[in-house]
Symmetry: C2
Subunit: 330 residues, 2 copies
């Protein structure tokens, strides 16, 4: 881990960058990271396996709310990246993190953030491999690169879905969108437990690593739901060169969906980080067994046909025209 020497060092920071790293981040370092005391980390790949890489950044006020608890921000940063590994069927190994702290950020926030990382590491079996910490005059910005691995040639891709395949989604859709509306817009209504759960799902999404792993060789294509169910289904459609038919009434939506405009709105709200995948018919038994083992529900929500794009039908059989940017009714 490196502490950059800026042209002008951050004034007024009580702890130097090196001290911050030593106190809060070095204890998170995994084997091969040399307690963050070297130029780089060294990892021995599992023979016969491939390595998987992804990176995602989150910025205060854009991807999370400025008053979200620091530990939750850490969990979210880890989770959105591990969710990409899950979508490839990969297992987590480690991560590198870049933190740009505003100059007025207090040490307690950083301590709580590191605590969140520790919690995430334990939950998802990954370790810190390196990082960089800089001071910024802009908003708090966090970037993470996640490293995973999987048996060679078993990666789940966005391409591969074929006409006749069924489309499935894990968990339920719209919780995170409702959680954001509760936190940001003061959205009212719904049961207290559902509200708590929605906020939790927005702040601490759960990467479906166990499910992703068990979908290797079973799913024909896979993606995680970050942009929204319809937008991500469009990615599958594009990469698979196929048409995705979505049955709106089959989508397992948040109990708070009615507060945010119903199921048609839930399917275009983002941040749920569920797995959305296709699988050939005849695999249902294995699929549901895998889902049970991963302790998450999996629901068939549509099917793959020849063509391109996404088509959504409501429970009355009416088509809802959808594009990447969102949805509109006929």
């Amino acid at each position: 881990m490196s502490a950059h020497t800026p042209l002008d060092p951050a004034p007024g920071r009580r702890l130097g960058e090196f001290d911050l790293i030593a106190r809060y981040f070095a204890p998170l370092a995994g084997p091969g990271a040399f307690c963050l005391g070297d130029d780089a980390a060294v990892l021995t790949p599992t023979p016969g396996w491939q390595m998987v890489f992804t990176t995602d950044a989150i910025i205060s006020g854009i991807h999370f709310l400025a008053d979200d608890p620091a530990a939750d921000v850490a969990i979210k940063l880890l989770a959105v990246n591990l969710s990409d590994l899950a979508a490839m069927g990969a297992e987590g190994v480690g991560y590198l993190i870049t933190t740009a702290w505003p100059r007025d950020l207090d040490e307690a926030w950083i301590a709580e953030f590191a605590q969140g990382l520790a919690e995430g590491q334990a939950a998802y079996s990954v370790a810190l491999l390196g990082g960089d910490t800089v001071a910024t005059g802009g908003p708090l910005s966090l970037s993470l690169t996640a490293i995973g691995e999987l048996p060679s040639n078993s990666a789940l891709r966005r391409k591969g879905a074929r006409a006749g395949d069924r489309i499935y989604v894990s968990g339920r859709i719209g919780d995170a969108g409702a959680g954001l509306r509760i936190l940001r817009d003061g959205l009212k209504g719904g049961a207290a437990t559902d509200r708590r759960r929605a906020v939790e799902r927005y702040r601490r999404p759960q990467p479906r690593l166990a499910l992703g792993r068990s979908l290797r060789g079973l799913a024909s294509a896979c993606i995680d739901v970050s942009d929204g169910l319809v937008a991500d289904l469009a990615h599958l459609a594009e990469q698979s060169a196929a048409r995705m038919i979505l049955q709106l009434d089959r989508v397992p939506v948040s109990p708070l969906a009615s507060l945010i405009g119903g199921a048609a709105c839930a399917i275009v709200s983002g941040d749920d980080y569920e797995l959305l995948f296709a699988a050939a018919p005849g695999n249902e038994k294995q699929l549901f067994a895998a889902a049970r083992e991963a302790e998450v529900a999996v629901t068939c929500i549509g099917e793959v046909v020849e063509g391109q794009g996404v088509e959504v039908f409501d429970r009355l059989g009416n088509a809802i025209l959808v594009d990447r940017g969102g949805y509109r009714h006929f």
Copy 2:
């Protein structure tokens, strides 16, 4: 590569994030990156080799100057990370990049930045494996994770230097510091070619990958000079639990060193990205042959003794007391 859906999309950006990625970054994608069209990249490790990871961020106005050419900023971002791989003796494989663009950044800047990445990729044999692009209200912020590989158990570490070893540095020291002073402070003086070279060295540092690779099994400890020769020597001293004796008059300094306060100032100026390493006596012949092959000079500048910390002697044999934060004369 992913384009985040922000809570509020950036207004006024002519090209969407997906279009930016498709137009400027997808052409840079290497094998296994799936044209940036999937959730993550997949890489097959070389059997019997280890993988090496490092990350470094640079921010406009802190680590580079706001009016530095975009292609140079791209080269610098790549180079500072690849320099960490070089210091471990690793060869470059690929990288992931996170870009936080200010909302008013024009497309021409991004196009030139991507051109710089393409140039750096060709020079250093690495390929883009993924990334994330977000909009920010803060300054332009760039973060890169570099991935390298090396034969198992051949990594050069900061630890390993032993009493009796010689200390060496590649290239020359102080060019980048002088270049920064020319650009930022309007520093006058020196020959025109030296001034051009100093600015070039500040803006486009050259990672010593070929030298690092040839130091495997030859150097006992190694680091790259980013914080400054003395500060980085202190890192070697600390990790190796040894004392580093530096002969100031032996340090190959920039021809512009006299403009920035002489050799004593050059050795505390940063950003040169040369390799600083220790090697047991008796290896000189191999060392200089390796340097010739890597087309960079290597100079013996001191020796390792029992103890701790760094001690600097000037040409008159006077000790100059040095600490991590900089230097002061007795």
